[in-house]
Symmetry: D2
Subunit: 460 residues, 4 copies
Amino acid sequence: MNVLLKGGTVVTHEETYVADILCTDGVIAEIGDNLSAADAEVIDATGKMIMPGGIDPHTHMQLPFMGTVAKDDFATGTAAALAGGTTTIIDFVIPSPQQSLLEAYQQWRDWAEKAHSNYTFHVAITWWDDSVASEMETLVEKHGVNSFKHFMAYKNAIMATDDILVASFTKCLELGAIPTVHAENGELVYHLQNKLLEQGVTGPEAHPLSRPSSVEGEAANRAISIAKTLGAPIYLVHVSTEEATDAIRYAKDHGHTVFGEVLAGHLVVDDSVYQDTDWGKAAAHVMSPPFRPKHHQDALWKGVQGGALQTTATDHCAFCAAQKAMGQDDFTKIPNGTAGVEERMMVLWEKGVNDGKITPNEFVALTSTNTAKIFNMYPQKGCIRVGADADLVVWDPNQSRTLSAATHKSAIEHSIFEGMEVQGVPETTLCNGKVAYHKGEIRSQSGDGRYIDRPTYAPF
Amino acid sequence: MNVLLKGGTVVTHEETYVADILCTDGVIAEIGDNLSAADAEVIDATGKMIMPGGIDPHTHMQLPFMGTVAKDDFATGTAAALAGGTTTIIDFVIPSPQQSLLEAYQQWRDWAEKAHSNYTFHVAITWWDDSVASEMETLVEKHGVNSFKHFMAYKNAIMATDDILVASFTKCLELGAIPTVHAENGELVYHLQNKLLEQGVTGPEAHPLSRPSSVEGEAANRAISIAKTLGAPIYLVHVSTEEATDAIRYAKDHGHTVFGEVLAGHLVVDDSVYQDTDWGKAAAHVMSPPFRPKHHQDALWKGVQGGALQTTATDHCAFCAAQKAMGQDDFTKIPNGTAGVEERMMVLWEKGVNDGKITPNEFVALTSTNTAKIFNMYPQKGCIRVGADADLVVWDPNQSRTLSAATHKSAIEHSIFEGMEVQGVPETTLCNGKVAYHKGEIRSQSGDGRYIDRPTYAPF
Amino acid sequence: MNVLLKGGTVVTHEETYVADILCTDGVIAEIGDNLSAADAEVIDATGKMIMPGGIDPHTHMQLPFMGTVAKDDFATGTAAALAGGTTTIIDFVIPSPQQSLLEAYQQWRDWAEKAHSNYTFHVAITWWDDSVASEMETLVEKHGVNSFKHFMAYKNAIMATDDILVASFTKCLELGAIPTVHAENGELVYHLQNKLLEQGVTGPEAHPLSRPSSVEGEAANRAISIAKTLGAPIYLVHVSTEEATDAIRYAKDHGHTVFGEVLAGHLVVDDSVYQDTDWGKAAAHVMSPPFRPKHHQDALWKGVQGGALQTTATDHCAFCAAQKAMGQDDFTKIPNGTAGVEERMMVLWEKGVNDGKITPNEFVALTSTNTAKIFNMYPQKGCIRVGADADLVVWDPNQSRTLSAATHKSAIEHSIFEGMEVQGVPETTLCNGKVAYHKGEIRSQSGDGRYIDRPTYAPF
Amino acid sequence: MNVLLKGGTVVTHEETYVADILCTDGVIAEIGDNLSAADAEVIDATGKMIMPGGIDPHTHMQLPFMGTVAKDDFATGTAAALAGGTTTIIDFVIPSPQQSLLEAYQQWRDWAEKAHSNYTFHVAITWWDDSVASEMETLVEKHGVNSFKHFMAYKNAIMATDDILVASFTKCLELGAIPTVHAENGELVYHLQNKLLEQGVTGPEAHPLSRPSSVEGEAANRAISIAKTLGAPIYLVHVSTEEATDAIRYAKDHGHTVFGEVLAGHLVVDDSVYQDTDWGKAAAHVMSPPFRPKHHQDALWKGVQGGALQTTATDHCAFCAAQKAMGQDDFTKIPNGTAGVEERMMVLWEKGVNDGKITPNEFVALTSTNTAKIFNMYPQKGCIRVGADADLVVWDPNQSRTLSAATHKSAIEHSIFEGMEVQGVPETTLCNGKVAYHKGEIRSQSGDGRYIDRPTYAPF
Ligand SMILES: [Zn+2]
Ligand SMILES: [Zn+2]
Ligand SMILES: [Zn+2]
Ligand SMILES: [Zn+2]
Ligand SMILES: [Zn+2]
Ligand SMILES: [Zn+2]
Ligand SMILES: [Zn+2]
Ligand SMILES: [Zn+2]
């Protein structure tokens, strides 16, 4: 089944023009004026924009974490993604310490079979010995993995100490893969959590106090410095602070290759949420790094505008109210995570494009193309040209919506964007050349998503 | 006559792949594997790179300046450009104070009729009244001009004072054109020149003393601040200092749209040249801004790597030894200018790519694509895709050369790059689909070059 | 008449200790334990702090400006100063363009005869010719002036253009005097004022729009760069923006001698005051530079803490409601100025010391010692030691007050600090060894103040 | 025995004036004009400067380290100090892991009995358990220790990992003591050392390669961030890089209390010394952090000028050629350390004051007063006033000398300042009111030095 998009304004990371687009066999077959195709489903895109499907480089579908499992699985989570214009997610394989990386990888591949959208995986390095190094090699050579994740927080669990960072970054460099980090100083978090609990501060309001911005700034700078010392590139996930943004900027200004990712949530939600007198609402916002005082939002937007931050993500990891309640008496036991894979692009359009902070071309770069380039999926993904995958979103810049858990596709009953008015929404999403979402309705099937191989040595 | 490039490695600002390219009727007709064309001249590009033809955004061919006229005219200068892989220059129309902009523009258009390469013009704003504003409008609407230049130096001549900057930037913003500036504080230069002459310091060694880096830093920051206050974008020509680079960076980090251009010369030549005991050699290097102490070169390269500086140029303005001698007794009378349009790309390849500072893709961005985008010639220029102009350079990364005035195409007897060994040279240059330069030989004719219209509202 | 302060805690810019202080003949005669003096007025300072009397480096008593004259004259203004713990002011001699500097200086000296507190003068350079240079010399050699002020704003009035700045800074350097600047780009202000008036925006809310922060940042950087180029030190009055603070920091970090002054008002009042629906209240806050968006306050405090800003002032220039009303139909005609000489130290204590931003020693440095050093009055002023002038304030850190126009000593009916609760107030102020203010009562007489000679070549 | 200094120019951190100084019973008894004292040794200081005796905050006399013991013991080392104008050193007690802090402290106190100059101790935290915390308390309360040192390098030996830093900084904050750090990332150093050895790079040229500047920048930022998170001040010893200086500056600009120390050696010696073909000469320069590429020197001087670096030290730890030879086959076994306690002030005068980078007042602050303030010995030390300790240096700014191992007092046969010409040398040094050094001759006795108690809660 072919699809013909008629009369839309094509918006890429660097161009804007009006054209028809014909999609055949999952790829873009033709771009031009007055295209026709006898057997194609025709979608009128007049007055709409056609952009590369979004890529969310940071999600955790059905993640087993903190004694429970995230509610959105690869089926519901990726359906939500498509409803938001996102056609590919990069999720995380997180082996337990001492677990085989390949075993964990296979587990996640199995879970992801039911995905609606395309997907691919970062693999976390949570421990170290020679077998880990060897399995990294296998993942790169046989399984299309080109990025490895390191948690600098979560002491006594999956924290990677400096010796692991040094060993793993060295291995990444050797393989042409890119190391990524969750940057928070785990020792400080551990110290502050214990101190707060000792002081009897046990509610969600303690969460941000246990992870102040300096904790992230420190780890960001450490990861970058280690990478720089070794000659490796580095990618920082969920940059949420002025300090970390400044650390990235400093490194870039000194000639180092470093990338920063920012979450839609951190760009628009501040730490006043943790003062909510409704425990459930406050707990619903518990994620790490936490939401921040407002001036960090300014810094993040400046980072987006100036080029320090190149990608936008969500860290989508959906826990419902019942799960959050596990931390009723101890904020350190509240499962960390919030949803957002569906809202990311709308939020970035509203607060970025509509507020005059970024152009539509920059929007495309930030939601799709830059991620495709950094993780070496470009120009198969993140791109509108003949031969590229037909992952596209038809965007209606004039349509408005009020974001709400009442209407989102995610399986949980809360939205960190609850009540936000946005103008500019996805009307239709094409994934692999098929209409996967159209005007509120999910048309794709569980299992339609494809796994994306990502070769090493991305050209940055 | 068609041209078929076989087996080359296509390098654009964002991709690298092997393909054949067929050029027909001045444009790229086909890109693919195993292309053939009965009537085409076939060029074997195996082992070579094919890149977009260079664009030099800053030249002054046959400029009437300081009582003489630059030696390289639009014929010799653009032939030199083609020999260096550059297929388009942006030259400057510089009206005298009180002269009609349209009249000056027409004069430069006439002069440029004899160009070998493509060309287009920035127009300088050297004075102000309502007629100037009105003629800016005409230039934009009728003549394809989208950029206006302002000299913040050259007091008592063409210097634009703050009131002119404010008025002209405001007009540019209204028209969707981009203001550009030569950033040096003219009052300080004037003061220092007079002081040095009073002290009896009259030789070329006084030139850099009369224009220290703080003089450029000041003006750069002023131009950017004025533009920012008015909401206009801004482009700084020939950024030569750490201070100006920092000023650009500061503005970008605070969300403003500002672009910086760096000259090949400033990246690799330092101010020790002014200490040459041979007056002629020292004088040959007199240009403004002058060559700088070495630490500025580090800062400029960091600016290139980190994104503060997006384009590379030459300020090609060739004066011969006899002309330089006009300032024998007074350094302020030495005609300011040096050549470089031919060497720019080789110098940037050698010191940028070969030294590991930039990738080949970044080289393309810096020598061609970024300029095409900023001055709104993209994707007609700066691009390799079907339908784009067939302005291409076949680059041999393995071939070496020693740069020298003895072998360059420029009409003058001096080269600021004299003796530099480079590996990586243009083997063949295609301009408008025709072989314009091949292995040392200029094949184009005077007059082959075309004027490029540049529409306003570039999408940055 | 001698005064003996018993049992207070002496706080200087670098020390804190308990001691008695005996003041005789206008100077500190003895510091020690268990002092006694038969004929001395004894003041019990137990539980109080004794600090050097404040020095306000920026006031305008009875200034003729914008068609009227500031209400607080040298009598009422300096009485207010004493009531606030300030024992010396540095006011400004502002010659009209073409007026003799000496003539203006004499005028101000005459006006100041009636001062209660000590005083000295910066002299403004509002025009330039050889006679100005010559009179600067006379002022330095014969009249104890070591600082000259330059207004970079107020086009068509007292604005100093770049040629004047270059000439005057050069002269200052030659004389060992320090140039100071009011840093706002006058051309931009003029352009924006006209544009706003043309758009029919005539109220006080237009005032900050006509002087955005970038206007100050530009001028700050320009003044610093000019000074740096010439090798002169520079002092920036009333730094009110992040941009200007950053410009100072950049210069200091690059080895240049630059000082920054911040007003108590800019540290604690933000630009929401211009939105007041009561025209009179909004107009009462009209001063230049204007109050700023809140994030500038953070930047200023950071500048204070990190050392970019060394002195605190008020720009005390009091206009009453009737005077403000002159700009009823045109915001550019509202006399620029606010009061504060009385509240400065209390505000800085409350928001600085009590809020944990600065220590009491830093408070002394910021309110007194640093100004004494920069303007070369140290250790005569700004100091507690035997032989120093007995200008002292007995500070009660436990006493609270609500600041209000209802109770202040200034002649006007408005206070920009109205309603602010402070804890920490001056209980007693000694000026020239006499009790000038005590528990709410002014004891000094008009004319008690002395003129302070300031020699050149301050040791910074 | 009293000493009367006649006619010298007194230079303190903030003042310069001519006066006589009478020293009695170890303290300054009188400062004034035309002083006389019947029983005093009179020293004519006409044309000389009198400054507070230098304080070197970082020495290691007779340190047991890397299998040997530093050659200069507390006798020879402190005699050298006095010959260089330094009257107090702060040395380091370095307990072995698991060793009692008190036991180690007592050991060092015993060793120091033979000192000529005054001395006091930082105590290193090289391991952690409750007893360490408890002994820190005892050291503070009973032994006048107010600073604790942490080595972030030297893995598998005395390295303090993040958990120790967090625990110890927290304890310091509780006690009012200041934590200090040797900032190098020990994991990276360890990794690079092993890699170099594996590659067969075993000579002194490998030393700087194993400790690149990013290794120091990382650790500096980490230590500062941890301190900032906990609310503690922090002092960085031997800052040798642009990165660490920038990290300090960043923290200070954001309101944190952080101090930086720079070694005389790092200010003037660069890393070309490791390329010396004479193994012994190269090895003689092995210390950590190593000497750096030249641009770091610029950055350090800028840090000194702008206030990021407040103290100067030497890390005096003298190993002779025979000791250095222990690392003949393995650079990691070359004992780390160089001498300098004698040359520090002369080097700083020559390259700082004579080169126009700092004023004589700043020289005093950098060599004495700032250290006295930070480590709470002011105004007993670092000060010239009645009642202060009579630790003074009579400085002859006109006398020249060539620094050389041939003439220095240190016990080793090498000087990193060999051959440096300096103008400005100590002529006479008074320690505790006695002439300890005069025109080349040591007059003090072993044991004349006193231990200095340093109370907590320094007023910064
Ligand atoms: Zn994370
Ligand atoms: Zn995550
Ligand atoms: Zn120019
Ligand atoms: Zn030019
Ligand atoms: Zn002013
Ligand atoms: Zn003023
Ligand atoms: Zn050390
Ligand atoms: Zn040490």
